[in-house]
Amino acid sequence: MNEDELVRIQAIAEAALLAAGKPLSIEQLRELFLESERPTRQLMEQAMVQLESACEGRGFEVKRVASGYRLQVREEFAPWVGRLFEEKPQRYSRALLETLALIAYRQPITRGEIEEIRGVTVSSNIIRTLLEREWVRVVGHRDVPGRPAMYATTKQFLDYFNLAGLDELPALSEVRDLEEIGREIEKNMQGDEPPSEQTLH
């Protein structure tokens, strides 16, 4: 058995695993070959070892599972591949946006302080969502009873909104002037705003 033959067996095994889309055992792989050309068990295993290393640096890898071998997309590419199956993003609730805005403009700020300004409780979900998205982080704890966490925005937050620094956020005086524009935006947004029950916390 020469090297060329082994490479061919390897390519056939790869082709079969890609076409099958499920695990194949060594026996099943051997049965793809006519009796006259069928590789021995040992040779088949050798081809699989070779295939394994031939997949290094590629988008997929050979996995040994209970029922045999299978080809699997590498986990490191899951973030990109996952986007193939993504549903349409939903929208954030008004409460979340207000919380985010307050953290951005009044940082470092505790949850209690946000609640004080907003006049309503801030749900843990909102804080968790903002932390998970890595738009805010805990920068310390205020030295008061309960030692509440102080939140600040992150570099990811600035990046997302295309800001070099917080000072590029519109000044509050401008925000007030925006009232007029705001109403307009509000009007325009009516169209694509999903029903309220779809919003995230």
């Binding site: 590419f77 207000e98 310390g140 620094g165 509050l172």
Partner: protein, 275 residues
């Protein structure tokens, strides 16, 4: 004749040469007859192997090695009528379209039997021309169908590759947020809190606020850092001023503490909450 779709198609068509066309007296009839005699039992099956009268005519012309442009209408008609005559008695409904073709052939032949008009009028085309046009047209698409059948196709000549999925991140995607939405939200909340009147937040203060967050994040845990390390020379004067203002603000808000062990000694900073 209505062509029935067979899926997957049995014997038939493209492989007329290999697959028995019919069993005649228990013996398989494998080949399309070389001569014109077809056992009557096999004839219906034989005709079914054709896709219609044009297909049969093409076969007859090819069988005789006849150029399509040079059809000997008499001979072809004679053969054709023989086939049709034999099949008519058994499978009349099958033969209907073939009979139309037979009539066409007969008509062409009768027109050719008439004395030809010796005029220079080229307008009157040979009566065979229309038939030839149809035969040629049909032959092109018969060939095209064979070509399509030969083209590599999925599930026969190739298979689409797929691999198992790794554990995928939660499929809940992040919503997009427009800066305007953020401003709108802030506007709403500040209006409610009536904070517009106070001037707590101003443009320049934001960079100080940012720096406050930054310094706080440097002071994680119980650790003291030197006062100087809060400053970065590369930032220039303005950066140093912002850091200094941020430090003062943090002290004022009792978020950090400054410790100096001796006069003129090094100043250390740590987060108050960490104590």
């Amino acid at each position: 004749m209505t062509d029935e779709i067979k899926e997957p198609i049995d014997a038939s068509s493209n492989e007329m040469e290999q697959v028995p066309l019919a069993l005649v007296s228990g013996k398989p009839l494998v080949d399309v007859p070389k001569d014109l005699y077809i056992p009557p039992d096999a004839l219906a099956v034989f005709l079914e192997a054709f896709e219609g009268p044009l297909d049969l005519l093409l076969y007859l012309i090819r069988r005789q090695n006849m150029n399509i442009l040079d059809i000997d209408v008499s001979e072809i008609t004679r053969q054709y009528m023989e086939y049709i005559g034999a099949v008519e008695s058994m499978r009349f409904e099958l033969a209907a379209e073939y009979l139309v073709m037979a009539a066409t052939l007969a008509e062409i032949k009768s027109r050719m039997l008439l004395p030809r008009q010796e005029t220079d009028d080229d307008d009157e085309l040979d009566p065979r021309a229309e038939l030839i046009r149809r035969l040629q047209q049909y032959e092109r698409f018969k060939k095209a169908a064979e070509d399509i059948d030969q083209m590599p196709r999925v599930e026969r000549d190739t298979f689409i590759g797929s691999a198992a999925l790794p554990k995928l991140p939660s499929s809940q995607p992040h919503p997009d947020v427009d800066m305007r939405e953020l401003i709108l939200a802030l506007q709403g909340v500040l209006k409610r809190a009536d904070l517009f009147t106070s001037h707590h937040v101003e443009k320049e203060r934001l960079s100080t606020r940012e720096r406050m967050s930054h310094i706080l994040s440097m002071l994680q845990g119980d650790r003291f850092v030197t006062f100087e390390s809060l400053f970065s020379v590369e930032e220039g004067r303005l950066g140093v001023v912002v850091s200094f203002l941020a430090t003062l603000e943090l002290v004022k808000e009792q978020l950090i503490e400054l410790v100096q062990a001796e006069v003129l000694g090094p100043i250390h900073v740590r987060a108050r909450a960490a104590s």
